[in-house]
């Protein structure tokens, strides 16, 4: 079994993404490679068309003087041109990297300088403005290519080119591309992915062509259904993230996943509804968001409809639990089918989620309750665990169907893990990232002496399944000497729909406290229903009734935690965390930078620790 995989790993290790594209264009020229929505219509792009587009873009980049080894930065929301430009750069031996569409200008400047891109591809005018503001300080930058030229009429910077103009002049085809792809070295760097940097500045992980393909193939080994029949997926995760890249570009070439690009990321709900994907790759945040939309809808519905929902939930909760313990009896299956047809399917249909055969959550730990809720609704939710440093592949994935939430599943064939003395997970595979860009010290730190990748995550094996505990450096040691995993505690609260974010503190303190960010939609809806008046986000967070509501939720969460893990006090953030703002303690992927968070909201945190005792002691011993 694993032998067959080894052959495929080996083959892919000698390939490149543009080469694989040409191979697909030759093998199945007229099959649908992806669909992109433009002005209300999903245009089907065949493989040969796809290859032609990449070829024309590559030829245009070549005319702009892009040479092997030079970097191309792409910024914007996912769209077909994003991935075409990316592969065009790769086809010329260039190294591409994406910048988060929500990155602040400071972060853009950092990544532009660190990566040293000669070409900047902007999705639209918004990103042109961002780059032009700092363009003069960037010595390497030669050209700026704009994909969507709407609203560009008043710009006359000589570096600006529009994508359509560039491509229109080119005549290169798949044959030309195949020729270029053949010249590429599969071991050369293909692209850089900047890690989101919850601690310190983002690091650029350099990933080479062949290793990326082989690593990503390990997802297919865990989820063979991706290659068995055509699967629809919606592209909405940022393409600069390695998971986004896998879904939009790499997996479609390795399996039968057909990505669908919506018109705008803002329209994600419409895109999902129209496409009704069969496979959903997502980060937990979206599952949480969709779940809270459903819960709001149910809270607002009529009594009869709500009782129908509640009845179905009661039944389905039992079914979900039974599923974790083995196959369902005929009676259970029939009961669930009835609940599914009468309640869950209509709910999921409204979100375009009813055709899903597989939901894969990755990127961050999935709160157990969120995973369980979706399984109760009948979705086959599984969790996978990977890192940017694993080059597009995963370290573990739950195979399901209907995997019991809590673990991250089994290790893919050909990959190995072990635990260090501290419990840190270490990974071994021939297909990992190469190094950090311009940062040899970090590279050296990332690997053990014998070449295993340090993940920085603490975990354990339980019944052959990998279980994550926390990030190594995130453990909180309280004044009482207890070591506590903050993310474990936070996840106990994150399943409440009223919280959008919960951050736990308590390093060196007597007890744990938390800063919470409210889910504005949910809480404002609750406020309206309960006649609590508010004028906006801040006024909502200041309302005592809201505080009481959240206190109730905290108490509920506390019930599930051991005594030392319980949150004794909390404060509500009075504004929403906005990654686009300078100095916010949140990364563009909305991961929390704990250190910065503590610094920025020090006053709120201090407030929660009553230090009278300390002062009494201090006074008693005569200190000031």
């Amino acid at each position: 079994m694993s032998n067959a995989f080894d052959v495929e790993y080996g083959r892919l290790r000698r390939m490149t993404l543009p080469g694989l594209l040409c191979e697909n264009a030759q093998r199945q020229p007229d099959a649908v490679a992806y669909r992109a929505k433009l002005r209300g219509v999903y245009h089907e792009r065949s493989w040969v068309d796809y290859a032609g587009r990449v070829a024309r873009c590559a030829a245009a980049f070549e005319k702009l003087g892009l040479a092997g080894g030079e970097r191309v930065a792409i910024m914007g929301n996912p769209c077909e041109e994003w991935m075409i430009a990316d592969q065009a750069a790769q086809a010329l031996g260039g190294i591409s990297y994406g910048i988060y569409p929500t990155a602040s200008s400071e972060e853009i400047a950092y990544q532009m300088r660190d990566g040293g891109a000669v070409l900047f591809v902007a999705e639209n005018q918004e990103y042109v403005d961002k780059i032009l503001a700092i363009a003069d300080t960037l010595d390497n930058l030669r050209h700026i290519v704009v994909i969507d030229a709407t609203a560009m009429f008043a710009y006359d910077d000589p570096r600006l080119k529009t994508y359509d103009d560039l491509v229109a002049e080119e005549t290169a085809g798949p044959g030309w591309l195949a020729d270029r792809a053949a010249r590429l070295d599969p071991d050369a760097p293909a692209f850089i992915v900047y890690t989101s940097g919850t601690t310190g500045a983002p690091k650029g992980a350099v990933i080479s062509h062949g290793r990326h393909l082989a690593a990503t193939y390990n997802i297919v080994t865990i989820y063979p259904m991706l290659a068995e029949r055509e699967q629809r997926a919606v592209v909405f995760l940022p393409l600069c993230h390695v998971l986004g890249r896998d879904i939009a570009m790499t997996l479609p070439m390795l399996s039968r996943l057909v990505p669908h690009f919506g018109e705008d990321v803002e329209d994600i709900a419409t895109t999902m509804f129209e496409v009704a994907p069969t496979v959903l790759f997502t980060v937990p945040r979206y599952l949480q968001k969709f779940a809270s939309q459903i819960l709001i809808g149910i809270a607002k519905t009529t009594g009869l409809k709500r009782s129908a929902y509640e009845f179905a939930m009661k039944l389905a909760r039992r079914t979900a639990e039974a599923r974790w313990n083995g196959p369902l009896t005929i009676g259970q299956a029939a009961g669930f089918s009835a609940a599914w047809g009468a309640v869950f399917r209509p709910i999921l249909n409204k979100f375009g989620l009813d055709k899903l055969e597989l939901v894969i959550s990755g990127g961050a730990p999935l709160p157990t309750d969120i995973g369980a809720l979706w399984q109760i609704y009948g979705l086959n939710v599984v969790e996978m665990y990977g890192q940017t440093e694993t080059a597009g592949g995963i370290i573990a994935g739950q195979t399901g169907p209907y995997a019991r939430p809590g673990s991250v599943g089994i290790i893919p064939p050909g990959w190995n893990i072990r635990f260090s003395e501290t419990g840190e997970i270490e990974v071994h595979s021939p297909d990992l990232f190469d190094r950090y860009w311009n940062n040899d010290a970090a590279t050296a730190e990332a690997f053990t002496e014998d070449g295993w990748l340090r993940t920085g995550d603490i975990g354990e094996m339980v019944d052959g399944q990998l279980k994550l505990i926390d990030r190594a450096r995130d453990f909180i040691v309280t004044a009482g000497g207890k070591t506590i995993s903050p993310s474990y505690v936070e996840n106990a609260f994150r399943s409440s729909p009223y919280f959008s974010e919960v951050v736990v503190f308590g390093q060196g303190r007597k007890y744990l406290t938390a800063l919470v960010e409210i889910d504005f939609d949910m809480v404002s809806d609750w406020a309206r229903r309960n006649d609590v008046s508010y004028s906006g986000f801040t006024s909502l967070t200041r309302n005592p009734a809201v505080f009481d509501l959240l206190a109730g939720e905290i108490a509920k969460g506390n019930e599930r935690l051991a005594r030392v893990e319980q949150i004794k006090d909390f404060r509500i953030l009075y504004k929403e965390l906005d990654p686009e703002e300078e100095g916010e303690p949140v990364t563009p992927t909305r991961k929390i930078k704990r250190g910065l968070m503590l610094k920025k909201y020090a006053e709120l945190v201090e407030e929660m620790y009553d230090d009278r005792e300390d002062r009494l002691v201090a006074a008693a011993i005569g200190a000031d």
Binding site: Q293, G297, K350
Partner: protein, 359 residues
Amino acid sequence: MSKPLPNASGHFRRSHADEFRLIETGFSRTMLALFIIALVSFPFLFSSFYVDLAAQVFLASIGALSLMLLTGIAGQISLGHAGLIAAGAFTAGILFKEFALPFWVTIPAAALVGAGIGVLFGLPSLRLRGLYLAVSTLALHFIVVFLGGEYETRRGFSTGILIDPPVVFGYEVYSTRAWYFTLAVAAAVTLWICINLMRSRSGRAWKSIHANETVAEAIGIGVTRYKLLAFVVSSSMTAVAGALFAYYRGFVSIEAFSLYLTIQYVAMIIIGGMGSLLGALLGAVFVTLFPYIIEALVSVLPGADRLAGSVFAFNYAAFGIVMILFLVFEPQGLVGIWRRIRDYFVLWPFRFKAMGGRK
């Protein structure tokens, strides 16, 4: 705004041709098929009294749809509807009587005459609005009725014009069942034309004129042109309905086209629901069947025999009351009720629109 999303997920449009499809989901396909089966089997399952009633509903639907286009969609009030029906009926009658022309000529001729009158009816609308427009169209009603009456007396048909049953594809349309199918097809074609008008440039222009004439003009809609077009299209369809009515009755007489007929059609679109084609159909069903329902109700009252003479009075009174009730309690008409029922199930188990889907 582009076309609304279908009711079920997973129906993405791959070309602009897809956007023009009327039936997108499997559910609506099934429903349409069931509806057609029901329509086709109806005359074979019910007595000819009911089949005849259904035929009347189809005929009324044509008139209601065309009035809906003009008043409900384009916002131009017209009280000349009965006059237009009369014009169509008389065109068919005269052409048959004087020139013995066949069905295939008289129907298009009625459409042309209707279009011509539509221009005349429409001209005042370029200057007049609201009540004034209503009065001017009412004047035209009396002109048509006067001309029809003059024709009858001068030609010596003072009791009316007799018309032979039409021959369609070699079949004489005479039996109730034949009329049922003929009128069903005519109503379906009218509905199809109306649906397509609604989702094309003309329909959009009419809706914007209805919403705000000045703004419509400002965004580049030829208000004059589209107002006249609304009158022409609507009048032409109405005249065809009139001609069909003449054949269906086999008899044309000016007494049939009183102002009460106009009021009935106006009632159809108000009760049905302004601005909705489905409303026109529901209104046509309701108003056509209403007298029969009242009659049935009266007959079960105690002492029905004594009331028999006053059924008409009951009818008028009940009709007036229903109109008032609708205007006060359900301004959106029957279609408003229908939408609420439909939304209850479409939104199930939510009450309001959830996320991506419709509503």
